[in-house]
Symmetry: C2
Amino acid sequence: MKKLKRSARLVEMTQYLLFRPHSLIPLTTFADRYHSAKSSISEDLAIIKEVFEEEGLGELLTLAGAAGGVKFIPKVPRAASLQIITKLCRQLEQPERILPGEYLYMSDILGQPAVLNEIGKMFASAFSGRDIDVVMTVETKGIPLAYATASFLNLPVVIVRRDSRVTEGSAVSINYVSGSNKRIQTMSLARRALKEESRVLIIDDFMRAGGTIHGMMDLLKEFRATVKGVGVFVESGEVQEHLVEDYISLARLSGVDSKNRQINVHPGNYFDAEENE
Amino acid sequence: MKKLKRSARLVEMTQYLLFRPHSLIPLTTFADRYHSAKSSISEDLAIIKEVFEEEGLGELLTLAGAAGGVKFIPKVPRAASLQIITKLCRQLEQPERILPGEYLYMSDILGQPAVLNEIGKMFASAFSGRDIDVVMTVETKGIPLAYATASFLNLPVVIVRRDSRVTEGSAVSINYVSGSNKRIQTMSLARRALKEESRVLIIDDFMRAGGTIHGMMDLLKEFRATVKGVGVFVESGEVQEHLVEDYISLARLSGVDSKNRQINVHPGNYFDAEENE
């Protein structure tokens, strides 16, 4: 790349960092790339850092020393997330979303890349620093959420299949009882899809009693994997007993009145925390 | 937002544009946002435009007049895409990927957000300007590709289900014959998921004879929708007759020799075109 002026360099570095979250980039990478002195690069990074922080895009960590460099950690302030979630809650409360079995139609909302980006950033902020190897979900509706989250954490995604006939080589299958209809169901994961002893973040779109997520946890035991976190977009608040204790929800559904077609959706337990940021 | 210096403004505008592809942003939006003169904003945009073009990120279109503004169109030069695809082809040729039925194991590759981003940018470049309303795919493995593409085109995604029991309200189901095993299968889409007369881009991970994609096209007729394009990541080159004529493939599989565990994967028809860019 040819030598760039500061102005062009700032544009270039901004896009470079945004597309490489959670990756350590040595200052020499930038210095070589732009034929610039490290001191100039440091000044550029200070400007970028300030804007990223003011904009609520995330942190720019600078690590000193020989193995040092800079790392972009996407992190949305909780107050900004709450604003977005509150708007989504109003959308989710539209009565025409109520489906048989007290499910909610959310495919239109989860079909919008801009919304997924926001949700992905929230999960990435919530689970940042938990030392995760891989993001896992079960088909179908959790898949876009898992990818959005993984892209901000710079992690691969593993998709558990509900269909054990899928031919991806030898697979591990488990049976689980879905919380909603008490039916026994099967989920499976190809042996090659997940390394043994991986540290896993589970993401899903909806959780009622947690049967499906509990099933994923059982499946993970077969891979001697560790669950480092569970994130669901919407949880049902109308559940007596959860099969999953430790999870983060972004929204909580309550008071589903199918007859009068009324529902209440509130921000989830991610926003319960007292601490201000 | 407080008044920003040019350096900070460049960082801010770069991230703003990158996260809003295919959206027309009036210059006044930037001028108001940064309390800057429109002439300064224009100068900033000229710098950003130059870097985006040199970096192969895409075009920055400037539309003059009252309804004017600036629009970021992600567009990767075909030569850069070819380099990336060639590398992926070598990975796809690893013999342990051969699955029964002459399928290829690709879940690890399609599980990497960075790879998906690149493929999404390629499809977005290939289908840019086709006047599309929505990106459609069928579960499961095409979903991440569809979202990656949609995010660079700023479009919503619609997922066709293989399971007609899914409860998303009234749905349209069709039967189709899968090209690979000649079995009759079902796919369905909720009425509310797609507006009548939508212009649709179909994206999928793998195409053999095209039975599944042809099924999606049949389904779209029920919604009086128009197919504006078909993009597949990998096509099988070992097919006598395609049910789908007009499509773009990024890679092409040939010479699958299950016995000797050998396969050849080459760049797809997207790279056949003579014209240089």
